[in-house]
């Protein structure tokens, strides 16, 4: 992160022995910025530490093995003996997020191209604000709309209960559409205009230019948007919980009750007492979520490196 402080060096004390006004301002600004950064760093590290200390307890002192949690199929925290197999949740989270991204990516790419190449003026004045508005809708509203519209629709059209991974993916795809579109649009706008003009000068049509030139050039940036979208979908809890059904099993179809990491945490955390094995196991799931987030950030960084090259 570039701090704005570095462009001006604090001068030496004035000749009269007093500090000049600009020096005091400089020092004050620097202190404030440093304080904020420090607070942020401390916060991030304490969050990581807190989640890790709670989430590692089941493995260290409560006799749950990492292998059982990552690959176990049975989640029976109240059972005897208690079983903590989180594979169904990992499966649910991955499939739902990736499916949501698969739905949202083409829509988002098309919207970006429309807004930059086809109707830039209308896109900027009408379509972009409309899509950004989607980002401001609270997730409980998405969940309720999903439960009232998407689930009954799926129940009528497909065999099954309507509730399930596909319902979750559809709701999530709308939620991550703004992320994919906004980043995509920024990427397309920042392409040098000479690129397009050169293509047109060679006699390429608009479609050829978009398909052969613009999309491949901007692809890493577009994918950054998709990965950030997946990250958001992965972490979304409430809306998904309302439409996915929350059965701790790997579903046999897209229309059968399933669970994600986030929904099992929100569903069970309130009903467990802190310090109990069940509670700590939920923190382990939170730790897994956190590690996944790190992974997504890493992937985004990799993609950005490709953009710069």
């Amino acid at each position: 992160m570039n701090l704005p402080v570095t462009n001006k060096q604090g001068g030496p004390p004035g000749k009269s022995g007093k500090w000049g006004k600009h020096v005091i301002e400089e020092a004050r600004g620097r202190a404030f910025v440093y304080f904020c950064v420090l607070l942020m760093v401390v916060t991030i590290f304490s969050i990581v530490f807190f989640i890790a200390s709670r989430g590692l307890t089941p493995f260290i002192s409560q006799g749950v093995s990492v292998k059982d949690m990552l690959f176990g199929l049975k989640w029976k925290p109240e059972g005897n003996p208690p079983l903590f197999g989180a594979l169904p949740f990992l499966f649910g989270s991955f499939v739902t997020s990736v499916l949501a991204a698969l739905i949202a990516a083409p829509l988002g790419f098309c919207a970006s191209i429309f807004m930059t190449e086809i109707m830039p003026k209308f896109g900027r004045t009408a379509l972009q604000p409309a899509i950004e508005l989607l980002a401001g809708i609270p997730s409980v509203v998405y969940g309720f709309v999903g439960l009232s519209v998407v689930v009954p629709f799926l129940r009528d059209v497909f065999p099954g209960q309507g509730i399930g991974i596909l319902a979750g993916a559809i709701v999530l795809s709308v939620m991550i559409l703004p992320t994919v579109t906004t980043i995509g649009t920024d990427a397309l706008r920042s392409l040098p205009s000479g690129l397009k003009e050169g293509s047109y000068a060679l006699g390429a049509t608009r479609w050829q230019t978009i398909y052969r030139l613009i999309l491949p050039t901007a692809l890493p940036s577009l994918l950054t948007g998709v990965v950030l979208g997946i990250a958001r979908a992965f972490g979304e809890a409430l809306a998904v919980q309302m439409v996915i059904g929350n059965a701790p099993h790997i579903p046999r179809s897209l229309f059968e009750s399933a669970t994600t990491l986030t929904s099992i945490i929100t569903l069970e955390m309130g009903n467990t007492t802190s310090g109990s094995l069940h509670n700590n196991a939920l923190w382990s799931l939170a730790l897994i979520l956190l590690l996944m987030t790190f992974l997504f950030v890493f992937v985004v960084r990799m993609l950005e490196r490709r953009v710069k090259r």
Binding site: L39, E78, R155, H249, P251
Partner: protein
């Protein structure tokens, strides 16, 4: 461009963190203040009660606790008391009152069932209401009574079609509660008599509103709800031929009910005690408690302890 995006995100995170930190420190201060307040008031007995009471826990009890708290704070005698009611689940309520973060822990279940014995021994139980539950089904399943064995068969996955229990030819869809929920614990203990597992394809929802909506809309659905949630959109089932009514609950003829508990750690502070006394007053017990679909504790003709033993009063 993306740099901007990240910076924006980071700034947002920072702001949120700051706000959170601020809110936490405020909450912590508030907590300390009210404790000392309540304490000092206790000693100067006779004067109007003041202080702050934080009640956390059961989402089933939350509407009643909140409704009564609003009325309580509107009373002249208690205008200096502020009662904050938060939902969060029975487990949260019990651990927060046990750790001293909350003055009152709301719970659907006995503390002995969730906490260690030495921790639950420190808590004092105030039973403020009784909640009864009924099994509810989608209106087209063609069943209006189920025996205990039939319910067990359904919730353990032995019966998968309504025709197995004398209904229409329609697959059964279970709309359950999360395995750790207090509502589910009550239903399993007193309707099924056994713990059950989450079956493949069953639905788990925490909120009664969502359960009701799903049971009303999904063909073949079965779930269970507190009596206050019953209406025409769903069919409430008789249990072993007994109708789920308040009268049948008070005599234990209909056994699927549980106490709503408000736990305090040791004796309650003056402010908390005033609030608890207010809830237990006849006006509230026969007013708000009944209006919100609970059964007043005083009208119960039986007692039940944490082990489930029922004795006549």
């Amino acid at each position: 461009m993306k740099g901007d995006f990240f910076e924006m995100k980071m700034k947002k995170t920072l702001l949120t963190t700051l706000a959170l930190a601020f809110a936490f420190s405020l909450a912590a201060c508030g907590n300390n203040d009210n404790n000392s307040n309540a304490g000092s008031n206790n000693s100067s007995s006779g004067a109007a009660v003041s202080g702050q009471v934080i009640a956390v826990g059961s989402s089933a009890l939350q509407p009643l606790a909140q409704g009564v708290a609003d009325k309580f704070m509107a009373e002249d005698a208690y205008k200096n008391v502020s009662v904050t009611v938060q939902a969060g689940g029975s487990g949260t309520g019990l651990s927060q009152v046990s750790d001293g973060q909350a003055d009152i822990g709301n719970s659907d279940i006995f503390a002995e069932e969730k906490l260690d014995a030495d921790k639950s021994a420190e808590l004092i139980d105030h039973k403020v209401a009784v909640v009864a539950m009924a099994a509810v089904v989608h209106k087209d399943v063609g069943v209006d009574n189920l025996t205990k064995q039939q319910l067990v068969d359904i919730f353990t996955g032995k019966a998968t079609n309504w025709k197995d229990v004398g209904g229409a030819d329609q697959a059964i869809v279970i709309v359950n509660r999360p395995s750790s929920s207090g509502t589910r614990a009550t239903f399993e203990a007193f309707a099924l008599g056994t713990k059950t597992e989450d079956l493949q394809g069953s639905i788990q929802e925490d909120s009664s509103g969502t359960v009701k909506k799903l049971v009303a809309e999904t063909p073949g659905a079965i779930g269970y709800l507190a009596l206050s949630y019953l209406d025409d959109s769903i069919v409430a089932l008789n249990y072993e031929g007994v109708e789920p009514t308040t009268d049948n609950v008070t005599t234990n003829a209909y056994p699927v009910w549980a106490y709503e508990h408000m736990y305090t750690k040791g004796e309650p502070s003056a402010a908390a005690k005033a609030y608890l006394d207010y809830i237990m007053s006849d006006a509230v017990q026969n007013g708000d408690v009944v209006e919100q679909g609970f059964v007043p504790v005083s009208s119960m003709k039986v007692d039940r302890d944490a082990e489930g033993n029922v004795t006549n009063k």
